[in-house]
């Protein structure tokens, strides 16, 4: 268990320590509250645009984060020699691969939670804006919007201060602090908002995260044998052709995980839809975990 914990921890740190991760956290967590503020159409619902914006941010930035992190942590370790140094010890290849994938999934879960909290706060901000608009004020609820953006930037600034005075790893601290402040921002929005918070969005966000999580395992499995550029291209092609048989059987069909449309006009996804999304996510993850483990078992490590 100690071996597993050490590998998971190092993989999570490695995924968060990369500057690209901090950039993706910042861009996603600024985009989710800010984009709806510039909207010119509500599509008949105040919360629809921020809701879809949050899901889109999780899907697009999430797949980029998942792929880049998995390729770096698994492919990078195999090519740089740190994997050889670990596998020369009392560590099985199965344990190594599974632990590294889970480490990246932990980092991805942090990203998903942060985007999820930000989406719930953003939807509340937009719905409060509609209330204000009816009363003759601007269509954006400024206190909510400002608290979300300012707190996210403050999280980044806190990471810089901790790095300057305590030598803490900037990118890791930035990812953690901007995620942490989302909870504070959500609490402030919830306290000030006069509309009910849409907590029911969280299961659908989790289902989408489960779909994106498959890409972590898929990218990790491919990175065992292929160079980073080939994995990235492969993932892009896979995402584009995920509706075609037989690719559909091995890759997450994003439509199955995209449950945001169910929330239109006060609706919610059925329990069966959520359950099947999680089940398919888990099955595909297990499939690619097995593929990656077999590939690593058979691979020579030069």
């Amino acid at each position: 268990m100690r071996r597993f914990r050490s590998l998971v921890r190092s993989a999570t740190l490695e995924a968060l320590a990369e500057p690209l991760s901090a950039v993706l956290f910042l861009v996603a967590l600024i985009a989710v509250p800010l984009l709806p503020a510039f909207h010119c159409h509500q599509f008949g619902e105040a919360g629809r645009l921020p809701r879809e914006c949050g899901f889109s941010a999780l899907l697009v930035f999430g797949i980029v984060f998942a792929t880049a992190s998995a390729v770096r942590v698994i492919g990078g370790e195999l090519s740089s020699g740190t994997a050889a140094a670990a596998l020369a010890r009392d560590v099985s290849r199965l344990l190594f691969f599974c632990a590294k994938v889970i480490g990246v999934l932990v980092a991805f879960a942090l990203f998903s939670v942060a985007v999820g909290l930000s989406t719930v706060a953003s939807v509340a901000t937009a719905e409060m804006g509609e209330v204000q608009e009816r009363l003759g004020y601007a269509h954006v609820w400024l206190p909510g919007l400002v608290s979300m953006v300012v707190l996210t930037l403050a999280g980044f600034a806190l990471a810089a201060v901790l790095n300057r005075f305590f030598r803490m790893r900037f990118c890791v601290t930035a990812c953690l602090s901007v995620s942490g402040v989302q909870a504070i921002a959500l609490a402030l929005v919830a306290a000030g908002s006069k509309v009910p918070m849409q907590w029911s969005l969280l299961p659908a966000l989790a289902a989408l995260a489960a779909g994106c999580g498959v890409f972590v395992v898929l990218a990790g499995a491919l990175a065992v044998r292929l160079p980073p550029a080939a994995v990235t291209t492969g993932i892009a092609l896979a995402a584009l052709s995920s509706f075609v048989w037989p690719v559909r059987a091995m890759l997450p069909d994003i439509q199955m995980f995209w449950l945001v449309d169910s929330y239109s006009y006060g609706g919610a996804p059925a329990v069966g839809q959520l359950a099947s999304a999680f089940a398919v996510g888990a099955l595909l993850s297990a499939f690619w975990l097995a593929v990656g483990s077999i590939l690593l078992e058979r691979r020579e490590i030069p």
Partner: protein, 283 residues
């Protein structure tokens, strides 16, 4: 002590193949070697002679094309075999975002150590390799020599019975090189078996009790270092307090007595010793 050797290699061959399985290079061509427990064994050879490939076959990172490898009588990919060895790669492969202390904790964790035992062992090793003062700095900012010390400490963290060192003194200054050689001697005294490769033949000669020289993937020479390097047909004397004139007279007398040419020179201090004396132990 068990009679099973620490390393036993029989008929080992390794052919690298390309994507289409066509042979690209035959790196190892039938090696037979035995390293007994407690030996400090030097694996020497020019670039491309198969040293690193042999080490990776020993570690189970590569699969042999033919032949067998046994560590303590066990196949190298078994956990029981690998739990008894420590490995220092040719390049110090470290995670740049971890500090020196975290790196050692990571490798201690991979060896199943945890809690206070791991903490105490890491502190002890950081002292031993002279990095206690920079233990909390990220290794990505370390010099090559400092990174080498961290990697060496990582290889030692689990108190291995067999230590495989690929170019252990690469990147180290003369003081660091001497410290590593002293460490290897000290480990050997404690019964640890050491297999090392080095391009610096002087280092190998200083510490290895046995050597094997590889050439083109085969063993070209193998045996005890003393036996291979000593020319028993010649003799050399060192007489303290003899000046140039006395030495010449002694040489002439000896030459007349044995009817052979007698050469003499004055002993030299090894440069490593002179350097250490000059800089006052460095660190």
């Amino acid at each position: 002590m068990s009679s099973v050797p620490a390393i036993e290699i029989k008929g080992l061959r390794k052919t690298f193949r390309d994507f289409w399985l066509r042979p690209v290079a035959e790196a190892v061509r039938g090696i037979d070697l035995t390293v007994e427990r407690g030996d400090v064994f030097g694996l020497l050879g020019p670039n491309g002679s198969g040293k690193s490939t042999t080490i990776k076959l020993l570690l189970g990172l590569l699969a042999p094309s033919a032949g067998t490898v046994r560590l303590f009588g066990l196949p190298p990919r078994t956990r029981a075999a690998r739990s008894r060895l420590g490995y220092l790669p040719e390049l110090s492969y470290l995670h740049p975002f971890l500090t020196a202390r975290e790196t050692l904790h990571y490798y201690a964790g991979l060896s199943g150590m945890g809690g206070k035992t791991a903490k105490a062992r890491c502190t002890e090793l950081l002292e031993q390799v002279g990095l206690a003062a920079v233990a909390n700095r990220a290794v990505g900012g370390f010099s090559k020599g400092m990174a080498r010390r961290v990697a060496l400490a990582a290889a030692l963290v689990a108190k291995p019975e067999l230590l495989i060192l690929d170019e252990p003194t690469s990147g180290l200054d003369p003081i660091g090189t001497r410290d590593v050689k002293d460490l290897i001697r000290s480990l050997a005294r404690d019964g640890v078996t050491v297999l090392m490769t080095s391009h610096l033949l002087g280092d190998t000669e200083d510490v290895c009790t046995k050597i094997a020289i590889l050439s083109k993937g085969q063993v070209a020479a193998f045996g005890r270092t003393d036996e291979l390097l000593t020319r028993k047909q010649d003799a050399r004397f060192t007489i303290a307090g003899l000046d140039e004139e006395q030495a010449k007279a002694f040489a002439a007398e000896a030459s007349a007595k044995f009817g052979r040419e007698v050469l003499f020179d004055h002993p030299r201090v090894p440069l490593e010793e002179f350097f250490a004396e000059t800089v006052g132990e460095g660190r």
